[in-house]
């Protein structure tokens, strides 16, 4: 059961849908952020802090980051399956990637609500 999660088998359609929906979320967020930065010009801490203090933008940022981590998980998984032949090494990289991404998610929540 555990191995199924770390192989590409049986997850084709789900991965396909997740990869594209997260891509759309990130694209929309990136363009929104670009426009906001052009409007507010956050070149000082005060302006930047006020901008990111907006609860809606904070939530969008978290959604963006979580999308990024899900997107990266599928992408990196595909790359590892294609190029890393030694099984042990591939498993190691799979687990390292998974652990890193979970840590990044926790770190993101911490940044957005405590920093």
């Amino acid at each position: 059961m555990v191995m199924q999660i770390f192989t590409n088998a049986f997850h084709g359609l789900r991965d396909w849908v997740v990869q594209r929906s997260t891509a759309a979320i990130m694209a929309i967020y990136s363009l929104t952020m670009l426009v906001l930065c052009l409007i507010y010009q956050p070149t000082s801490y005060a302006v930047w802090k006020t901008l990111m203090g907006n609860a809606c933008l904070r939530l969008m940022t978290l959604l963006f980051l979580l999308s990024l981590f899900a997107h990266a998980w599928i992408g990196v998984k595909d790359v590892l399956v294609d190029y890393i032949k030694p099984l042990r090494l591939r498993q190691f990289l799979h687990y390292s990637t998974a652990i890193s991404l979970f840590a990044y998610a926790a770190w993101s929540a911490h940044i957005l609500w405590n920093a």
Binding site: Y45, W48, L65, G75, S100
Partner: protein, 130 residues
């Protein structure tokens, strides 16, 4: 019985990657992967920068000073290219999923567009950074 001469003909087996000429859509595809891996590796730096920028006024100013360093600017330029290429190649991918531009001629044209637009916007980013 005569053997079809086409079967007897020796064909080159170009399995040597250095001898295969990469079609433009394949180039866009492999760069999509490479830029994706690079962006993945940049995630901790991105989160660290976000944290520093929000934590304190001092952290924000420190980040500005780091961003002004020529080597940081170079890294930011590579980051900009990776982001832009991945962004536009991704949009091209979504279009292909919707069966837009799957004909060879259009596929080549959109591949060229992805390469050119991302390089041009990277140059624009560079001009803005310096």
């Amino acid at each position: 019985m005569s053997v079809n001469p086409a079967i007897k003909k020796k064909r080159p087996k170009n399995l040597n990657l250095t001898k295969v000429r990469l079609p433009i859509p394949a180039l866009v595809s492999i760069l999509h992967r490479a830029s994706g891996v690079f962006l993945f590796l940049m995630i901790p730096l991105l989160l660290w920068a976000l944290q520093s920028s929000l934590e304190s006024e001092q952290g924000f100013q420190q980040l500005q000073a780091i961003a002004a360093h020529p080597l940081t600017k170079l890294l930011l330029l590579v980051f900009a290219w990776a982001f832009l290429h991945h962004f536009f190649a991704g949009i091209r991918h979504l279009a292909l999923d919707a069966r837009w531009g799957v004909e060879l001629k259009q596929a080549r044209l959109t591949s060229k567009l992805v390469l050119i637009v991302s390089v041009l916007l990277t140059l624009a980013t560079g001009a803005w950074l310096w």
